[in-house]
Symmetry: C2
Subunit: 180 residues, 2 copies
C-alpha cells in the first residue's frame, strides 16, 4: 500500500495513537488503513464414504489435488462460501453438515475453514480453476500430490473421524518450515 484509497495522497507506516502496531496512515486525511487476515473457506464433499478432490489448473500448486475452497466474499456466510466454492470449482452441489477443521496460517495471514459436506447427487464437473475432479476412497487418496498442508490436515482428520464413526472439529496451525 502506497496511496490512501480514500483521498489518493501518500500513506506512511506508523503506530497510531492508542495502538500498538504500525498501520498505513494517510498523511493528508489521516485515514488508518487496517489490514487483517483473510478467510479461505471450503469443504470436503463426501459421496458414499468417498471424497471429491479437484486438481488445480492454476498456481500456486498447479497440477496438485485440493479441496474446493477459496476466499470468502463479503456479505455471505461461511456455509454459503463453502457451497459457492464447491459449485465454482467442482460444478457440484453440496449440503453443509458440520465444520471439520480450522487452520491458522500466520505466515500468509490466512485462516482456513473446512466443512464436512455431502454431495446432493453423484454429479460434478470441472470449473475454470480445475483440471479434473474425482471421488477418492481413503486408500487411493494421492497423498504425495496434495496441494496444501491444510487440505492434508482436513483429509487426515476426516478419515480418522470416519473410521471411529464420529466427526469432530479440529484446530491447528500451519507453520512455515524454515531451514535450520
Amino acid at each position: 500500500m502506497k496511496y490512501c484509497s480514500e483521498c489518493g495522497h501518500q500513506v506512511v507506516l506508523k503506530v497510531p495513537p492508542d495502538d500498538h502496531l504500525p498501520r498505513y496512515m494517510c498523511v493528508s486525511c489521516g485515514t488508518i488503513h487496517y489490514q487483517n487476515p483473510k478467510l479461505v473457506v471450503g469443504c470436503i464433499p463426501e459421496w458414499d464414504g468417498k471424497v471429491l478432490l479437484c486438481r488445480r489448473a492454476i498456481d500456486p500448486r498447479k497440477g496438485c489435488w485440493t479441496l474446493p475452497a477459496g476466499f470468502m466474499e463479503n456479505n455471505e456466510t461461511t456455509e454459503q462460501a463453502a457451497m459457492r466454492e464447491t459449485a465454482e470449482e467442482a460444478l457440484a452441489e453440496v449440503d453443509i453438515l458440520a465444520p471439520l477443521a480450522l487452520v491458522s496460517v500466520p505466515h500468509i495471514s490466512q485462516v482456513h475453514l473446512l466443512f464436512h459436506g455431502r454431495l446432493r447427487r453423484e454429479q460434478f464437473g470441472v470449473g475454470a480453476e480445475t483440471l479434473e475432479t474425482a471421488l477418492f476412497n481413503q486408500s487411493v487418496i494421492p497423498w504425495e500430490g496434495i496441494a496444501f498442508p491444510s487440505v492434508r490436515y482436513a483429509l487426515e482428520r476426516f478419515f480418522e473421524d470416519q473410521r471411529r464413526g464420529q466427526y469432530g472439529f479440529h484446530v491447528t496451525t500451519w507453520r512455515k518450515i524454515t531451514a535450520p
Copy 2:
C-alpha cells in the same frame, strides 16, 4: 474506496474478466482490489465456572457487556488473537482450551470466532476500551445488557454445555433483523 492504493489513480467498480462480482479496479495500473470479511476473535475466560465479562468503554454498544474479542491481526493465529484481546481488554491471561462458537455476520461482512478459555489466575483489570470487568455466574449474567447477539449466543451455548458437562463447537448466523 476511491483511489488505487498501489498507484494513486482512480478506481472503478466493475466485474473483472473471469470473475462474477464487481471489484474496485484501477483505471491506470489495472490492480484489482478485493475486499473480504474480517475475523473477530475472542474468548470466554472461565474461572471456577464463572465467566469474565467486560463493559464496553467505546461505541458501538458503549456501556454494554461483552466478551474480550476484536479484529484478528496479520501474522497471528486465532488462539493468539483471543489471548491478545483478553490481555488488552481485560488485562487477564488465559489458556485457550477449545473453539466454542463461530458466528457469520454477513450484513457487516464479519465472522466471529469465540474460544473457551481459562484464566491462569483470578486476576484481571480494565483495558483502554473497557469500563469494568467482572466474573459472573450464569444466574447473574446481565442478559439484557449484552452488547452483541454473537456474544449472547456464545454465552448461552457455554452455559448449556457446562450444564451437560461436555463442550461442543457451535455454528450459527447472526442475521440483521429488518422491519417487515
